[in-house]
Every structure is written in structure tokens, then in C-alpha cells.
């Protein structure tokens, strides 16, 4: 189950995001809120480890990590794909 709470827990590990996580809506643009390129890479790696998925090359871009909702939907698809 990919919950917003788990995603927020992972976002809290990011220095730029840690103080903002509780105020984030699911559609807020994380990059506008201060997430940078290296931060998005760390987020990607943390999501892969937590949900035991691997983002395909086609999803390795800012868009895939732009909001909590996008992350939830993307990771959900990957976990469903992995379970199938």
C-alpha cells in the first residue's frame, strides 16, 4: 500500500522538505517548494528501497517526483506491475 503518510515520511529525510512536509497538499509542486535535482535523486532511491521497486529509465525525470500525488500514482503502478 502506497500511502501519502509513507511518502511524507520519506520526504522528511530531505533537508529542504523536512520542515514543510506537514503543510504539503497532495498536488503541491515539490520543486517549487524547494526540492532540487539531487534531492529528487535521493527521493527516488529512498522510494525504491522502501517499496522494493525500480523506476524504469522512462520515469527518471522531475515529472515523476513533482508531487505527492504523482509519486503515489507512479509507485502504485510499479508495485502492481511488480506483483503481477
Amino acid at each position: 500500500m502506497v500511502s501519502d503518510e509513507v511518502i511524507k515520511d520519506i520526504l522528511r529525510q530531505n533537508e529542504a522538505m523536512s520542515g514543510l512536509v506537514d503543510t504539503l497538499g497532495e498536488n503541491d509542486d515539490l520543486f517549487e517548494k524547494g526540492l532540487d535535482s539531487f534531492g529528487s535523486v535521493q527521493l527516488m532511491l529512498a522510494l525504491e528501497e522502501r517499496f522494493e521497486v525500480e523506476f524504469p529509465d522512462s520515469l527518471l525525470n522531475r515529472r515523476s517526483f513533482s508531487s505527492i500525488r504523482t509519486i503515489r500514482e507512479t509507485v502504485t503502478k510499479l508495485t502492481v506491475g511488480a506483483a503481477a
Binding site: D36, S37, F38, S40, V41, M44, L45, D57, L60, N61, R62, R63
Partner: protein, 321 residues
Amino acid sequence: MDSLPAFDTDAIAEGPAGPGTPAPTFLDRLFDAGLLVRTGVDGLYGRSGAFESVVEALDRLVSRLGGADGAEVMRFPPGMSRKTFERSGYLKGFPHLAGTVHSFCGNEADHARLLACVEAGKDWTEKQEATDIVLTPAACYPLYPTAAARGPLPQGGLLFDLQSYCFRHEPSLEPTRMQLFRMREYVRMGSPDEVLAFREQWLDRGTKMMAGLGLPLAVDLANDPFFGRAGKMLANNQRNQNLKFELNVPVNSVEKPTACLSFNYHQDHFGTTWGLTQADGSVAHTACVGFGLERITLALLRHHGLDLARWPADVRATLWG
């Protein structure tokens, strides 16, 4: 005849010159002509006086093009502070390219063991330890902390002129991919509008400069060679935001042309990393234009031949007046 054939697909394919005789590669020809000097390490070469005369002429040409802009000239050695290097973030993206300087830090007994290992052809590096110096990966890396230490930028920002030997650990038989090479740079620091205007100006100047040297070229969106899977994401991000352009010239092949100039917008990466601020206190943005002096020289040799005296008169006039 000591000039290369015209740059066509036959020449690029480096196909056999005759039965059982492979045609010499471009690198072989550069060695044979004495323009580059073998050292036994791929990507590490000596340069002849003729080769250097082109590098120096290109350096002067870049100075002429940018001279009226009033850049502050700064030259750093090809090594930089390890602490500065670590803080720069280079290791996040390019751990595979970095070069560190290590020195012997043992005692007399360790020295004896070192010599025995050398004698026996065994690994002698056990007591080599990292020093405070790493090899400079890009001419501008030592600049950012230096500029930040001066305090906020003045109104209108700053412009710097740099040149340095740079190191990247990527041994290759392509002469254009040297491990130690010279990079000339202009670096602009200021507001996003100021640094983007600078980049646009140099996209135009650089293109005219290279076309004026009689080189076929294309300016393309590009990305840095970031490491690993994480690097794919960084590369995609860089492309999606139009942060890097390269001016490419076919040198080794038409399919994989060589980046001779690059035009980079770092956004606030270095400003944030080094606490570099604008006059109003906001984080400074930076951009740079980089000239690969050996790469441009090699492009000229590839397209105009290995005998500099026979280069087109207008190219010679541009370079040497």
C-alpha cells in the same frame, strides 16, 4: 602528404588502406606527425610546439571576443582544495571522473616495503594517503568559494575569465577525450536574467567563432555524463530544463560529434552551495561558457589537415593575424 583526407565517411570509417593494412587512426596520425606525444597512458599526451601554437592562438581569440566585457582574470593551478571539492557537490554526480592526489605517508620501514613492492612489480600504494589536493575537474570549480568569500556581488553581478588544465578519469583512444586538458571559461554571476543573457550572448559568439574557423558545427541540447542510474535522472532533469548546450563538431565521427564548447546555466546550485548572494541578498545564479582548447585544436587539425602552413588563409589570419 601529411594532411588528413577530407572529412568524409571514408575518412571517418578509418577503413583498410590496402589488403591487410588497417589505415592509421586519427590518433595514430597525430602521433606520427609529432603533434601529440605518447606517454603510455590513453588520454595523457604531450603536445608539440605546432599543437601549442594553435592552443595559444585559440586562447587569444577567445580573449579578443570577450575582452571588452571587462572580465576579471583569475588563474588557478590544476589542483584545488579537497575540502572545497567535497563541498562543491562534484562527487554526487561524477565520482567516476574525479582524481585525487595521494602521497606517501609512511615511515622508514614503510619506505623500504614500498621500494620492495616496486622492485617486485607489486602494489606499492598501501601507504599512499589522500592529500588536501584534488585535481581540478573544471576550470571554474575553485572560483565559486573565492567569489563568495568576498561577500555579496555588486549590483549587476560579476564576470570572470579562467583557464586551467583539468582532469577527468576517462581513459580513451579518442584523441578528443583526454584525461588532462585545458579549459578556458568565462563565468557570470548575478541574477537569472543576467546570467541567461550572458549565455545567449556566448551561444551567438561561440557559434560565429567556430564557423569563422571553417568548422562544420551544430549546437545541441546536452547533459553532463552523470554517474549511474541516479545520473540518468540528473541528466534527464538537466535536459528538461535546457540547462546545458554544446557546440559539436565532427572529429572522431559524424555520428558522435565532439563537444568543443559548452554553455551552462547552473541556476542557484553554486550560489546555494557557497552562500554566494546578489546585491539584494538573494541567492546568486551562475552560468559559464567553456572552451575545450585541445578539442577545438583537434577539430581544426581534422578538418584543415595536420600541416598548419596549409590551413585556409582566412583561418590562419583569424588565429595568427
